[in-house]
Each structure stands twice: as C-alpha cells, then as structure tokens.
C-alpha cells in the first residue's frame, strides 16, 4: 500500500473588528471645511513654518502648537506615482479598487506635506510623470461625507507633455 501523506488539520477563522474613531479637533475642522465648503485647509507651524497636511495640533519637529490655518490651492505637482495592477481591497468597504489605476502623491501649491490620491488619467506610462501638474477634483457637495474620499481624484492640468529623460524600459508596454 502506498504511504498516505500525513493529514494536517487547519481551522479557518474570520475576525471582524468594529470601531468608532473620533477625528479630533483639527481633523474635524479639516474634514468639515472640505465637506461643507470645498476648502483644503492645512496648518502652519509658527516656528519652522512648515505647512502641514493633514492639519495636526503639534508640530512633530518643533513640539509647538500649530495654530495658523492656511487654505491651500487646489493645484499642485506630482512628486511620485505608481500604476497599480493589483486589485487592492478598500478595508473600510471590503470592495476592491479596480486595477489598473494611477495612484499619485501630489504637493499642493503652498504645502510642505504631500497628499496621496487616485489620479484620473489613462494608466499608461507615457501619460504620467513626476513633475506633472494636477488639480484636485471634489465630489459634488451632496455626496461629500467628511472623508478624504470627498476628494474624488487628482486630474492633470491640460497641455502638458512627458519630459524625454523620464522615459524608461518598455515605456509603451504597460
């Protein structure tokens, strides 16, 4: 008789963890201004002058209270990006983001910090590059809920071309 492979037992377990999260003073102000008035507010450190996003009560570098609110432009520059080919699950909804899509990091004019978000552009390498100018597109006011997803996506400003030196391996392939 052939030797049977040893059976090994496993148990599937699913854990669902509900939680209630309090946004806190500064994040609440940011989210409510975004939701109600379509404004993107950042906070400026009185000591080092960094304009921080999202707004937070203490400047981590200077250990002083941030108290100067600054309204940012809705335009900025892409400092990094990726074309995502994996169907990432949104852990807050359980639904996947359908790939491929462009995800980028934008520095809004006037900000020190960057903001990561979806970029509404065809996911091909000749359409996206570091240094591309983008603008923030919000959801209509009635659909906004007080979340970063109230920003629908970033959108490239028209009339730009990818610089030659950023072309790379199999640029057209993907």
């Amino acid at each position: 008789m052939a030797k049977k492979e040893k059976e090994l037992i496993s148990v599937p377990i699913t854990v669902d963890v509900p939680y209630r999260f309090a946004a806190g003073k500064y994040m609440t102000k940011f989210l409510m201004e975004l939701k109600n008035n379509g404004k993107i507010l950042a906070i400026k450190c009185p000591k080092c002058g960094r304009v921080q996003l999202p707004p937070r009560i203490v400047c981590a570098a200077c250990h002083v209270k941030n108290d100067e609110w600054v309204e940012l432009s809705n335009e900025g520059t892409l400092v990094g990006f990726t074309i995502m080919y994996i169907p990432l699950t949104d852990p807050t909804t359980g639904k996947p983001h359908k790939p491929p899509f462009v995800y980028g990091s934008v520095r809004l004019d006037g900000a020190t910090s960057v903001l990561d978000h979806l970029v509404n552009i065809e996911p091909t390498m000749d359409k996206v590059w570091v240094g591309m100018r983008c603008k923030v597109v919000l959801r209509p006011q009635k659909d906004r809920i007080g979340d970063l997803s109230d920003i629908r996506y970033l959108e490239p400003l028209p009339g730009q071309k990818k610089p030659r030196e950023q072309r790379s391996y199999k640029d057209k392939e993907q």
Binding site: T14, V17, Y19, K29, M32
Partner: protein, 151 residues
C-alpha cells in the same frame, strides 16, 4: 486665520475584517484526527514531569522536554469549575444561556473548557462526574465534542 468657529465632534464607524487559517501542527493534527475518526481524546505525556497535558503540545512548558508520547484520556472526567453564561456574543458558538465548565478528563493533569448540558443548573456541582456527547458529523475541530453531560 484663527479657530473662529466651533465644530461638532466628528466620529466615524468603520470596521476591519481579517481572515486567517490556524494550522494545528503536528500534535494538534493528531488530536483532531483521533477525535474526528475514532471519537478518542488524546493528551500527551511528559515522561520527566510525569504529567499528561491537554491540549497535546510538542514541548513541556515546565521542563522544556520534547514530547511525543500521545496517550488516550477520558472520555469521562470531573467538573472542576463552571459558570452560567447569560449574555450572547457573536463569537460564542452557542446562544445564551449556556453552561461553560472546566472538565479534568480521567488520566489528564490539565482541564478542558467546554459546554455542560443536559443538566439543571441548580443540580450542577464541582466534582460532578461528566461524559462527552460526540457530534454525529465530526469535522476535525473541538465542537466534534458537542458538550459534556452528567453520568
């Protein structure tokens, strides 16, 4: 710009769902297979400490010996302690009310936590002798024992 406006506290309800699969390993697999296929309850003996542990484990926590001697324990045992659970939680495999106890199976030196059923709560007592009721369809998990009941 200063904080010129008061904002209502803002809270959100979210949740994170995580799936996992626990592998019972060498000793655990032997225990569950014996329970499922033969309705036998296995423990493991430490020859150095002369103790029989349930659940079976590969290392003796007391003397750090490698363990390999599986021994049959029970199926009957003695109730060491108990409680009546009167609230329900999604993680409970049963709806409240139910009785939960620790049973020291005959031949074992450690107890097993399980349900106690077919008994009036006013009659239940520490030291009561109990025996297991096995599930008809056994799947290789601890609910292959449905519960313990008085002998």
């Amino acid at each position: 710009m200063t904080e010129d406006k008061a904002y209502e506290p803002f809270e959100v309800d979210q949740h994170i769902t995580a799936n996992s699969t626990y592998y019972a390993g060498d000793m655990g697999s032997r225990f569950y297979i014996a329970l499922r296929d033969k309705r036998k309850i296995l423990g493991v003996r430490c020859p150095k400490c002369n103790k029989v542990y349930w659940p079976p484990r590969s290392t003796c926590g007391i003397c750090f010996s490698k363990l390999s001697e599986m021994v049959e324990i029970g199926p009957c045992g003695t109730l060491e302690t108990f409680t009546l659970v009167t609230y329900s939680e999604p993680v409970h495999p049963r709806k409240a009310p139910f009785i939960y106890g620790i049973v020291k199976l005959d031949g074992a030196d450690t107890g097993m936590a399980h349900f106690i059923d077919e008994v009036d709560f006013s009659k239940i007592h520490i030291g009561m002798r109990v025996r297991p009721v096995f599930a008809k369809e056994r799947k290789g998990n601890i609910l292959d024992i449905q519960y313990f009941k008085p002998i």
